[in-house]
């Protein structure tokens, strides 16, 4: 019960935080207006989302086969691919590749949050920079992400100005323009991309047939992270795999549309290290992009979760983040209503992926089971159904493995 008690204290603290509520109410308002516009402009997305549900259902059933297939494809492209059974294995593979005393630039990745990658690499004596603006803010605040796509969603602009004054060695007034703050982060990170020894990213979707990572972004930090340093390492949860390039494209489009974008500024498709055949048609690896390309597919409980009839829906999640804007509890507590992942669906991840049943119970009983998340979800994940099933497992003491 002490986990629940501490947790309740934490979310109640958040619920009384006026700054947090201000930031969230601004974000929710603009999300609603953006997504309505995006769906109105591209109404085919709704049908496409139904198709994507089918693609995900099928892919989750054959995750192991698809990861084998993707590994073979990546190796054929002269990259290196690994399947990590556990977070520890993933950490040790990546730490081995990186070494010590290196400069690392990182794109935002929930999977790396899940296994504590940044902290692990820092402990090994490396200098790691988060390059997604929201994640950069969170790293500088020594806080944790509060939304899967907009990690600093709970921080209003005035607080960012105060933070940047402290960490960037430059004065920003509390009414500084957002553009000024963005540009300051750009200046600070600029040379890090080009000095970095390693760039680390996640991926939104992976096409198993070609081993191609689809990475969706707007800031351009992913292009630099995966393009400028000599080594690119990608950490990907196995649930991101689909069979074909065509499937992967469909999943990507639905993901960004439901993440409230008509179209993102960039989608990077990465299948192997950079190469050139321009001199005598001899293929040489390591041109302008990275010479080394490593992909680590993480199981970490996912294949176990896929066996559960109801709870496996959690693996269909595209991480568009739309549901979070619909959750009435999230609107006043942000990611405090969460573990590694947030809200009701976060309870399932806490139970099966983090194997933290007390935290999972706390989250499961914080869900209103109101079901508005399901209405927003492109793949119609039935969160109330999963949460009630999780409560049943908890009540019956059938702790999910």
């Amino acid at each position: 019960m002490t986990v629940f008690k501490d947790y309740k204290k934490e979310i109640m603290g958040a619920a009384h935080d006026e700054r947090l509520r201000l930031a969230l109410s601004r974000a929710i308002k603009s999300f609603r207006s953006n997504i309505n516009d995006a769906l109105k402009k591209f109404p085919h997305t709704i049908k496409l989302a139904e198709e994507v549900r089918g693609i995900k259902e099928k892919a989750i059933g054959e995750m192991e086969k698809l990861s084998q297939q993707a590994c073979e494809a990546i190796e054929a492209n002269k990259g290196k691919a690994y399947i990590a059974g556990t977070p520890e294995e993933a950490l040790s593979i990546i730490a081995g590749l990186v070494g010590r005393q290196k400069l690392i630039v990182k794109g935002k990745s929930m999977t790396s949050e899940e296994i504590g990658l940044r902290e692990h690499l820092e402990k090994q004596g490396n200098e790691v920079y988060e390059t997604d603006l929201g994640e950069f803010i969170i790293q500088q605040m020594a806080s944790k992400p509060m939304h899967i796509l907009s990690p600093a969603i709970h921080v209003p602009r005035e607080d960012v100005a105060r933070l940047f004054t402290k960490v960037l060695g430059q004065e920003f007034s509390s009414d500084a323009e957002i553009a000024t703050l963005v540009s300051a982060a750009r200046d600070f990170l600029r040379d890090k991309f080009f000095r970095a020894d390693v760039g680390i990213s996640g991926a939104n979707v992976v096409a198993a047939e070609t081993g191609t990572l689809f990475i969706i972004e707007n800031e351009g930090n992913i292009r630099l992270t995966t393009g400028a340093p000599p080594v690119h390492i990608a950490l990907v949860g196995m649930e991101k795999l689909v069979s074909t390039l065509n499937d992967a494209y469909k999943v990507s489009e639905v993901t960004w549309r439901y993440a409230n974008y008509t179209v993102p500024s960039y989608v990077s498709l990465v299948s192997g290290p950079s190469k050139t055949g321009d001199i005598e048609k001899v293929t040489t690896y390591g041109a302008h992009g990275p010479k080394e390309f490593h992909v680590i597919f993480l199981d970490g409980g996912r294949t176990e979760l896929a066996k559960h009839t109801l709870l496996r829906q959690a693996l269909y999640c595209l991480r568009c983040g739309g549901c979070l804007y619909e959750c009435p509890v999230f609107a006043v507590t942000a990611g405090h209503f969460g573990d590694k992942y947030f809200t009701g669906i976060g309870a399932v991840w806490a139970a099966i992926i983090s194997k933290d049943i007390e935290k999972a119970a706390s989250l499961a009983y914080t869900c209103l089971t109101c079901g508005r998340c399901k209405e927003r979800c492109p793949v119609k994940i039935d969160v109330p159904e999963m949460v009630i099933e999780l409560r049943r497992l908890i009540a019956d003491d059938e702790r999910p493995k």
């Binding site: 019960m1 309740k8 109640m12 009435p328 509890v329 508005r372 209405e375």
Partner: protein, 334 residues
């Protein structure tokens, strides 16, 4: 029900269902009093299923505000369990006592139910009411994850209804309706009862009636989660409101229908996180008040309780909350 990971607020409600066949652990005689003067037959093939929510609304309101006060003063988890032990030790109908002391209008809870009876009669539906014999649907057991208890309760409740000769149930509380309509058939073998949402009966029969609201009013409609998202009854209440002369329906911009914001009182949440639940109620009350409506209409005892308290805390005094049944009943008279 002993698992230490289930929040005590929920085991408290669950315990009451097991011992007294209602969520409050109140005595049944007290609950059926609302129907005393209505001369409803105690046995009939079609029955009106009143559920716990409306019958106990004033007691629940008092109980919840008491729990809320305690939750604010000690952020912890012991409170509801202490409360439960206290109630058990005294062996009294504590909420009943509170309601006698605190409820200004003892009859208030009966209004939506009395209105519902009047509407059904006006629609020409013949029905009875089981009063003290009405079983509890056990919805909170299901939502708490206590499915073994839920399953046992569902079979008992079903057997009771069958043994009393019931063939058709008109259910009014959204949580009961969802439970009887969607959950019972998967928990009870050879389930053979017709479950009809009150709202459906009304929308099928009301259009021929002349409906005139006494006066002019702007109304907004709050969709209860279980009606809108679990049972997809979204257009029906709106069609009914549009039929009533004198009413203008004004709606929130984003948060209506399937995307309506929960009042914060779902699935026993209010018993586990009373203070957070109150914050959510205030948020929803504000969203609805921003429409400029004079009346917030909804159709769920939980939502009514939450929104009333939300409006009070938001200091919105020129707007009130009424059940759809009350609006219809008032308009039948007009």
């Amino acid at each position: 029900m002993s698992n230490e990971l289930i929040p005590p607020g929920l085991t408290y409600l669950a315990g009451n269902i097991a011992s007294r066949q209602n969520i409050l652990g109140a005595s049944k005689g007290h609950s059926a009093r609302w129907a005393k003067s209505l001369d409803l037959p105690r046995r009939a093939e079609t029955i009106f299923f009143a559920g716990c929510g409306y019958q106990f609304s004033s007691q629940l309101e008092n109980l919840m505000s008491l729990i809320l006060q305690m939750d604010k003063s000690i952020i912890g988890t012991e409170m509801p369990i202490r409360f439960a032990i206290f109630q058990k030790k005294l062996g009294v109908d504590l909420p009943g006592v509170y309601s006698k002391i605190l409820a200004k209008d003892n009859d208030a809870e009966a209004q939506p139910l009395k209105a519902a009876v009047k509407i059904l009669r006006s629609c020409g539906v013949e029905f009875g009411y089981l009063a003290e014999d009405e079983p509890c649907c056990g919805a909170p057991l299901y939502h708490a994850g206590l499915h073994k208890d839920f399953s046992r309760n569902a079979r008992q409740a079903y057997d009771k209804l069958k043994s009393l000769g019931v063939k058709r149930v008109i259910s009014i509380v959204p949580a009961c309706t969802h439970t009887l309509l969607r959950l019972f058939p998967s928990y009870v073998n050879n389930f053979d009862l017709e479950i009809k949402p009150f709202l459906e009966i009304v929308s099928e029969n009301i259009s021929s009636r002349k409906l005139r609201f006494p006066g002019e009013a702007k109304v907004t409609y709050h969709d209860p989660c279980q009606l809108a998202r679990y049972l997809r009854l979204i257009d029906e209440p709106r069609q009914i409101l549009r039929l009533i002369k004198g009413l203008e329906l004004v709606e929130t911009e984003w948060t209506r229908g399937e995307l309506a914001t929960c009042c914060g009182g779902g699935g026993g949440f209010e018993a586990v996180f009373p203070e957070l639940s109150h914050i959510l109620a205030v948020n929803r009350a504000r969203e609805l008040a921003e429409t400029g409506a004079d009346i917030i209409v909804t159709h769920c005892p939980g939502c009514i309780m939450q929104l009333k308290q939300g409006l009070k805390a938001a200091k919105a005094s020129n707007i009130e909350v009424l059940d759809l049944t009350q609006i219809i009943a008032m308009s039948l008279e007009g």
